[in-house]
């Protein structure tokens, strides 16, 4: 029951949290910023609209948003949000989930290529390249977590007896993992300094340019998928931090979302105080966390006998 409640709450709150980033950025720019509920208004607006499809596109183009949103939703189904056990879980689910996310990206890229627009092809190429690099880090983290906890499922990573928490015995390693995962989060969710979600310049876009041709409910699904994904990554980070354990479900939920919100605020802060990287510097930036994780894994070779 708690699991289902927790899942539903996560879905409901997912559109709210990105507005926190916008508010943070607005604060740094000395502006008021959009209302906190902006994304709900956007969703309602988009779902009310019809979709426009170019005659040069095929069914692949229409599948992109659906698959993308569905796979992001899957991640939340399997993730132990807010102290509750996930709705589904089995040994090895992390592998399947990250590849499902890959599948979602694959369809987004296919949909972009399906439009035959030179911009979207360029964005697709960048997205494919950068996410390939980011995948190395993700799997580096999974290898490390396997060594630490002996399991390959989210539920067991973050069970109460697990070693994967900053308050446990492997704090030093997990600090590295935290930094690595934070950078992966920025990369995978097209945030500054890798991508600029607010730009209007097609030639500089990575993710945004791929969805230029989607409209109405399709665009709404893409946005939803993106919000779920961002929530998943920040939840992942939050569970690693997990400094306090509450037996009470409500208390632990409150703590969980407080930390999640704080992570969103830090994203907004990062976006306000740094500029975007030059495109040819992005691979270096994305490979940095891999180096961190790899280093952490090497350390475990000695630490765990």
């Amino acid at each position: 029951m708690e699991s289902i409640f927790s899942f539903c709450f996560a879905i409901l709150i997912a559109p709210l949290l990105p507005a926190v980033i916008q508010k943070t950025k607005a604060f740094f720019a000395g502006k008021q910023g959009p209302p906190l509920l902006i994304n709900y208004y956007t969703l309602i607006k988009l779902f009310k609209k019809g979709s426009v499809y170019s005659t040069s596109t095929s069914f692949v183009f229409q599948m992109g948003p659906v698959v993308g949103c569905a796979t992001s939703l899957m991640m939340l189904l399997f993730f132990p949000l807010a102290g509750a056990a996930p709705i589904f879980s089995f040994h090895g689910d992390v592998l399947i989930l990250f590849y499902l996310m890959g599948l979602g990206r694959f369809f987004t890229i296919l949909a972009a290529l399906d439009t035959a627009s030179p911009f979207e092809g360029m964005g697709a190429a960048r997205e494919a390249f950068f996410s390939t690099l980011a995948e190395a880090t993700v799997f580096g983290i999974l290898v490390l977590f396997y060594r630490l906890s002996g399991s390959l499922s989210f539920a067991e990573f973050f069970s109460s007896t697990s070693a994967i928490t900053l308050s446990g015995t492997h704090t030093a390693l997990l600090v590295l993992v935290f930094i690595a995962l934070y950078i992966v989060m920025l990369t995978e969710n097209s945030r500054v300094p890798v991508d600029d979600p607010a730009t209007h310049l097609e030639l500089t876009m990575i993710h945004e340019v791929m969805i230029l041709d989607h409209s109405g409910p399709d665009l709404a699904l893409i946005e939803l998928g993106a919000w779920f994904k961002l929530l998943f990554y920040s939840a992942f980070l939050t569970r690693i931090v997990d400094l306090f354990h509450f037996q009470n479900f409500w208390l632990s939920s409150l703590y969980f979302y407080a930390v999640v919100t704080f992570i969103y605020v830090t994203i907004g802060t990062v976006e306000s105080i740094t500029a975007r990287l030059k495109m040819n510097m992005v691979p270096k930036f994305i490979l940095t966390p891999f180096a961190l994780v790899f280093f952490a894994t090497i350390l475990t070779m000695e630490l765990i006998k």
């Binding site: 209007h200 030639l203 500029a275 030059k278 495109m279």
Partner: protein, 501 residues
């Protein structure tokens, strides 16, 4: 160069005094001047009693003029010096006079010529731009082409950009403009005199004062009208305010292009404040309706002076603070440094003007070289950089903002009131020629007027700095990442309508 006539900025010259050379000698003179480091201010064709003539104004540290009868086709000067390439294309397009041997003779604005001669480019003008024009292409399996525009995201003007890329790397960028061609030069030759300033102010909306001033000075020179000192002060302040407002706005845009939001928000607001100062000065935020032949329409009283001074006192520290924020952030410098570089050699070859030229080490500033209004008595310090990248262009604009603020303070301290403005009958001197040059915020703005024997305008030629600098943008993209195009574009921030006329 010895056969060209040395003239002054805004000096009325009798057309009979302009040396009229045979074409080979004319060509030789211009090439000599170009080889000696001279640049072209004006080079255009006009029709005089059914005869087509070419006229050229060159600048070194002085101005020179010369003319010749235009042959239907002539040996291209571009072959010897790249400085002439845009001008020869324009001559071909406007009057069907072909520069033989021009390495890349293509249309400039895509319109049929005025003379009814055979089209030089073989275009069919019933087709829309780009019509049947074959763009420059790079062949190869890994080369791909990206076409941007003419309709863009955002609220910028229409222009078509064709990139030849290998992955993220740009081999070549071809820019095709002309979508905003309104026939301004033709229009200026036909409308009644009192409509001239209104049209001049709309040549490029962001250079209202720059173009308005050029026209007013040219007409004042031809009609022997003196402007009192008070009006000159107001004009100078207006031009400097226009410069500051545009530079500030563009620095904000530069920072938003690299996703560095706070300075963009601050500069966006501060730009508005400077536009408001223009309103205090001239009644319009964009400087419309202020500069008129014979003076300025609004007198600057003590009250306006005080408002201006107080607001400047308040804004200057803010500008310094935000400027520091942009140019000292390491992540921003990482984007600006070594991006979109135009070498001094290339800048010299294509004759970059304004801050783009000064960023590449070309010192030319019309306020210093050919001062008009109050600039002769002002300590204008033009900023100079030599790297030619986005950062240089950005820094120069910041420095210019600071310098311009000082100039305005100096002018505000001058005790001199303008006389109230009264419109007067304007009678242009017959058979005359005048060229006027001003340093608009983007660079050298120049208007040139030729009158016929009745004192009517025979030919009105306008040149916006963008006419030189678009080529600079194309060059800055060579071997650059395609994702840096918007940044490079913004660092030049050229006018589409000023180019298209």
């Amino acid at each position: 160069m010895d056969k060209l006539l040395h003239i002054q900025n805004n000096e009325k010259i009798s057309r009979a005094d302009i040396p009229h050379l045979p074409f080979p000698a004319f060509r030789q003179q211009l090439l000599e001047c170009a080889a000696a480091g001279g640049q072209i201010v004006q080079f255009f064709a006009y029709e005089d009693h059914g005869i087509y003539k070419l006229i050229a104004v060159m600048r070194t540290d002085k101005l020179y003029v010369g003319s010749c009868d235009a042959p239907d086709s002539f040996a291209s000067l571009t072959v010897e010096s790249e400085k002439f390439h845009m001008f020869e294309r324009e001559i071909g397009e406007q009057y069907g006079l072909k520069a033989e041997g021009h390495p890349w003779l293509k249309m400039v604005r895509y319109h049929p010529n005025y003379s009814g001669k055979k089209d030089v480019f073989g275009n069919d003008y019933n087709q829309e731009i780009p019509g049947n024009y074959p763009y420059f292409t790079v062949e190869g399996e890994t080369v791909h082409e990206v076409a941007v525009g003419p309709v863009h995201a955002g609220i910028i003007e229409p222009g078509h950009f064709r990139f030849q890329c290998c992955g993220e790397r740009v081999f070549h960028l071809e820019i095709q403009l002309g979508y905003q061609h309104r026939g301004i030069e033709k229009l200026l030759q036909t409308v009644p005199m009192k409509r001239l300033p209104i049209i001049a102010e709309t040549i490029a909306g962001d250079t209202t004062i720059g173009h308005g001033l050029c026209q007013a000075q040219a007409i004042e020179a031809l009609a022997d009208i003196q402007v009192d000192r008070g009006a000159k002060i107001v004009r100078t302040i207006a031009l400097e305010l226009e410069r500051i407002a545009n530079h500030i706005g563009d620095m904000g845009a530069l920072s938003i292009d690299v996703a560095f939001n706070p300075p963009a928000a601050f500069f966006g607001r501060i730009r508005g404040e400077y536009l408001n100062l223009s309103q205090i000065l001239g009644g319009n935020r964009f400087g419309r309706g202020l500069v008129r032949v014979g003076g300025v329409t609004l007198v600057m009283g003590e009250e306006q002076k005080k408002l201006l001074r107080d607001k400047l006192d308040e804004l200057t520290p803010e500008v310094e603070h935000v400027g520091k924020l942009i140019f000292s952030a390491p992540s921003v410098n990482g984007r600006f440094d070594q991006t979109g570089t135009v070498t001094q050699e290339n800048a010299e070859k294509i004759g970059l003007v304004g801050y783009a030229g000064r960023a590449s080490g070309l010192e030319y500033d019309a306020r210093v070289s050919f001062p008009t209004e109050c600039y002769g008595e002002l300590p204008v310090v033009s900023a100079l950089k030599t790297v030619g990248d986005v950062r240089s262009r950005g820094r120069i604009r910041y420095n210019e903002v600071i310098n311009s603020t000082r100039l305005i303070y100096t002018l505000l301290d001058t005790k001199q009131e303008a006389k109230p403005y009264a419109p007067q009958e304007v009678q242009l001197a017959p058979n005359s020629f005048v060229v006027s040059i001003n340093e608009g915020w983007r660079g050298e703005v120049s208007h040139c007027i030729l009158t016929d024997e009745k004192g009517a305008i025979l030919r009105y030629k306008v040149k916006d700095p963008s006419f030189h600098n678009w080529t600079g943008l194309a060059l800055s993209l060579r071997d650059e990442g395609i994702s840096d195009f918007p940044l490079c574009n913004k660092s030049f921030n050229l006018s589409y309508c000023g180019f298209d006329l």
